[in-house]
């Protein structure tokens, strides 16, 4: 392996004359914590498992023995649950959406927790900035989308539901059919995964960038001001990321429900 750790680079300082350790793609590749054969257990996996435990643990504590008059934890859980059930499932899909609330709730909280890991001390890495995690979830959403489309409409009407828009002028039909197919079957799952991944990737990159820079530039010269600015930006970005993390989890879930709604609806 021609890899060298960033440990030295991250600690690099302008005085050491080792060059600015700009974060890049390598910031998202981790040395395995342990390896079993060719299987490398890495930090993002650990974070994913941690998030799984946190989501399950939280909802277990909140909802295992629910009371009619809720305690604090149950109340918080209920707010989360009703947020997904009302603002997403009911709003987008309607009454039929009640069936998909557990799926959407799982997606929302799993994604959100993985995103939040970006700014949790010691974790400081959003698992969703590793493309595999968004892909896994987007694939599940896509499979659900396809399954519901064909289950609701049967094969022929299902295909029609995916590619057809009624009331078009004849010459446009082939073009629109092609575009609709590309949009619904190729672009949708791809963008669903990429949107989440790219947001978390970029956010993490920015935070790392400003954090590294604020250390790199910390010298008893005028550069201290730049360092302080950089540090301020790192903090600002951290706060901003908190918003983005929630927003991306929300958007991911919202789009999932929109696809489900599209699959259930009677042609268009």
């Amino acid at each position: 392996m021609s890899a060298h750790t960033l440990l030295a680079e991250a600690g690099c300082h302008i005085k050491q004359d080792c060059g600015f350790p700009a974060p890049g793609l390598h910031s998202f590749d981790f040395k395995p914590i342990f390896s079993i054969g060719s299987f490398d257990f890495t930090k993002p996996m650990l974070l994913a498992i941690l998030c799984m435990l946190l989501v399950v643990g939280f909802f277990w504590a909140a909802f295992n023995k629910p009371k009619l008059v809720p305690g604090k934890l149950q109340l918080v859980g209920e707010i989360g649950y009703t947020f997904v059930a009302r603002s997403i499932a009911r709003e987008v899909i309607g009454k039929k959406g009640d069936k998909y609330v557990p799926f959407l709730t799982s997606i929302f909280f799993f994604v959100w927790f993985m995103n939040i890991m970006s700014i949790i001390p010691f974790a400081q890495f959003p698992a969703t900035s590793r493309f595999a995690f968004p892909v896994a979830l987007a694939a599940l959403v896509f499979i659900t989308y396809m399954y519901l489309t064909f289950k609701t409409h049967g094969f022929r009407k299902g295909v029609k539901n995916l590619v057809w828009i009624s009331g078009l002028p004849k010459p446009l039909v082939p073009l629109i059919v092609l575009l609709e197919f590309i949009q619904n079957v190729i672009t949708r799952p791809f963008t669903l995964a990429v949107r989440l991944w790219a947001n978390m990737f970029a956010g993490h990159m920015l935070i790392v960038m400003f954090s590294v820079a604020s250390w790199y530039l910390l010298t008893p010269t005028w550069l201290t001001a730049v360092s302080a600015g950089s540090f301020g930006l790192a903090i600002f970005m951290t706060a901003f990321e908190l918003l983005i993390q929630f927003l991306q989890a929300y958007i991911f879930t919202l789009l999932a429900s929109i696809y489900i709604q599209g699959a259930l609806e009677e042609g268009h």
Partner: protein
């Protein structure tokens, strides 16, 4: 500090790592399994129960209110019916009373008339009897008196009765003439 694995030719970030894919899917399935099978149905049930406890209480109260209103209406209707019935009965009683009074008055009148008529008849009969008796008595007294005066007995009954009748008729005529005058 974080430990990174920095590769010289960093790999394409858009190629998902298979191991991570598997871990991600497994984690999600565990989350989905527990939430979907147990925890969310739990809370769904609780929320429904709470909804029932709150809204249901209101609904029940509304129902009770409606029931009370309906009972009140029924009661009022019954009361009005009873009043109406009472008024009808009173009216009927009044009518019947009036009828009875009228009947009784009529009956009284009839009885009075009957009594008066019977009295008149009695009086008439008495008068007639008295008249007959008186006529005989007056005739006999007159005859006796005349006999005593004349000194002879007017035994010839035919003549006697003729004389008496003539006398009495003249009396009658006299009284009639007096009455006419």
């Amino acid at each position: 500090m974080m430990t990174f694995l920095a590769e010289e030719g960093a790999q394409n970030p858009l190629i998902p790592d298979t191991a991570e894919l598997v871990v991600g899917l497994l984690c999600f399935f565990i989350v989905f399994g527990l939430l979907g099978r147990k925890l969310l149905p739990n809370i769904q049930k609780t929320l429904a129960e709470r909804h029932d406890a709150i809204e249901g209480g209101l609904e029940r109260a509304e129902k009770a209110q409606a029931e009370a209103n309906r009972t009140l209406e029924e009661y009022k209707a019954q009361l009005a019916g009873a009043r109406h019935e009472a008024a009808r009965i009173t009216e009927q009683a009044r009518e019947q009373g009036a009828q009875i009074i009228a009947e009784m008055r009529e009956e009284g009148q009839r009885q009075r008339d009957a009594i008066v008529a019977a009295g008149h008849a009695q009086i008439e009969a008495d008068r007639r009897q008295v008249t007959v008796t008186l006529r005989q008595e007056v005739g006999r007294i007159a005859t006796d008196l005349a006999g005593k005066l004349v000194g002879e007995s007017l035994e010839d009954s035919a003549r006697q009765s003729r004389t008496i009748d003539r006398f009495l008729d003249s009396l009658d005529d006299a009284s009639t003439a007096e009455a006419a005058r």
